[in-house]
Symmetry: C2
Subunit: 344 residues, 2 copies
């Protein structure tokens, strides 16, 4: 089959790889109907050392089950399913607690002999715990929003949930990328009435406003933080959703959070240390978040997507074929596309 | 009157200062019956640059009201009262939320013309919001435990509460100082059944066991963290109470917290940045805590102290007169005393 392999910074190729097949009785074989490129895929796209062998890439996909291992129950060939961006057994203590990203028998796509999501097919380990059946056909117009359940929307939702967003909390969202916009939509869904979006790409913040942002702050850094404080009577907001992953964004987050408030981070951190000095200590600011256990949220979010109450798939603003995926990476890297959907 | 002034590292003196008197109608004048030395007082005691003028010091005290401003209600001359270590008005939004340390009209003892607690008397601003009446006489044997309500015990309690300790969470407490031992007692009060105390002073960890610790780990650093993981099947504990304030303690905290768990810090941070890299992010670890709003917890904890159900005052292992307070500082600094009570 054909699949995407990253060989280094700026070097994404589609190559022929071995066809996947069932190996374990807990596996499923999924033909990919739609995949996408994640903001976190851009980190290796920007910095990976050159490698002749390269690495499989992609961790967001939905598709049709073509074959199943003997032990998989509740799924059948022909089912349309979405895969969260970490596979998990669904039976261990962490899975039961809703932290499938720490599953005792789980793992990442594209690692250790597991296929990546940006290809024609994927062998899915622990299929029964991992995959979620979608009650629509593969030609459904809901496909972009359903695909967003694999990562980007639950990541924004994890940010809002762990921050404790509710109808009584004010919210600042830092970042107008697809995760930041998903965080806006999530905060709105959780009842927040005041959602300040920090971002400076008008086409993106416009979508943020459509998703529920009540204010947009285009200024960055200290100036942006000052503006958020002005908007909140000098206090900052109860919750801050950090959807970038750079140290500057974390610094802004602490500058705009209200005393006693919570910063949640879901931007994959490109830093090793967080500035949490005596000043932050005196203000009792909490830092939470982390990699989102998407699987934990799909059951909760799916009905809203199926009913059309929310349209998280609006973050996709370009579609490419698998053979054109390198152009998709380029478009996301140069910000001419917000998020790229891939059709194998 | 006589009061303690710190003039620099290792230089604590008792000097004659102006007698306090009522200035604002919201003030109270309190004759100090018992005060104490805080672990946080040791930071300037170890590092303050020499100063001829010096600074008033001390923020934990209880005493008898001698005079009251005209606007103070609910208190009267002769009442025995305890003061939390931050004064606050009790009426602003932060006070109503239980975050009196961020009170819009509050402040710290010993700063900006306000008396310190280590002296014969204190002018208490915002007395109605700040002071809590104690229904015992000044000769009560409960005085050490009641005095502990001003800071050390609520600080341990804040650590346990913000970490989310309950009957279902396992707990590691880092530090066998008075705050760490108070955190053990707090975790026990909140129902924790497994409390691992990391500390290497046997006389202190013995008190920790009396307070409810089920395991003591005397090893430090990586070795100590390894031991905690051994004790918890490799996983670490759901909550970690960091009661030291050094970066090494924070590193240990992240090393012993279970995936999805919470580290709470109440040791005044002697660091500017916290190591929260991609590994911590992948494990969804939360960092919370901060300076404890002692006032928020006194009403809840006082009945247990009055009934003798808990004895947080057992952390005091030495008593000195005010004129001998320099010896008290020396004893706490060289660890020959755990916590020193001062009798003016």
């Amino acid at each position: 089959m054909r699949a995407t392999i990253i060989h280094g910074a700026g070097d994404v190729r589609v190559e022929t790889v071995p066809d996947p097949r069932i190996i374990q009785p807990t596996d499923a074989l999924v033909r990919v109907v739609a995949a996408c490129i994640c903001g976190s895929d851009l980190w290796p796209y920007r910095s990976m050392p050159a490698s002749e062998e390269g690495e499989r890439i992609g961790h967001e996909f939905l598709g049709v089950i073509e074959d199943l291992g003997a032990q998989v129950e509740g799924l059948k060939a022909g089912d349309l399913v979405v895969a969260p961006f970490v596979w998990s057994d669904g039976t261990c203590d962490f899975c039961h607690e809703g932290l499938q990203t720490s599953c005792r028998h789980g793992g990442l796509w594209g690692r250790s002999g597991i296929d990546g999501g940006q290809g024609e097919a994927v062998r899915v380990p622990e299929a029964q715990g991992t995959l979620v059946k979608l009650p629509v056909g593969e030609d459904s117009t809901l496909l972009p929003s359903l695909l967003s359940l694999s990562d980007v929307f639950p990541t924004g939702y994890h940010c809002a949930r762990t921050a404790g967003v509710n109808e009584r909390t004010t919210v600042t969202v830092i970042g107008d990328g697809a995760v930041g916009l998903s965080a806006v939509l999530s905060a709105k869904r959780l009842g927040a009435e005041r959602i300040i979006l920090m971002g400076h790409h008008a086409s993106r913040t416009d979508l943020g406003v459509a998703f529920g942002a009540t204010d947009v702050v285009a200024e960055r850094g200290d100036e942006g933080a000052e503006r958020v404080r002005e908007l909140t009577g000098g206090d900052g907001t109860h919750t801050v959703l950090e959807c970038v992953g750079l140290e500057a964004a974390i610094e802004t987050a602490f500058a705009v959070v209200r005393d006693g408030g919570t910063v949640s981070r879901v931007g994959a951190p490109q830093y090793a240390k967080v500035p949490m000095d005596f000043g932050v200590f005196l203000r009792n600011v909490t830092l939470t978040g982390g990699v989102a256990p998407a699987r934990a949220y799909i059951d909760e979010l799916l009905p809203d997507v199926l009913d059309g109450r929310i349209e998280p798939g609006r973050v996709f603003d370009r579609t490419v074929g698998l053979e054109e995926i390198a152009g998709g990476y380029e478009a996301m890297a140069d910000r001419s596309a917000l998020k790229v959907l891939v059709r194998p």
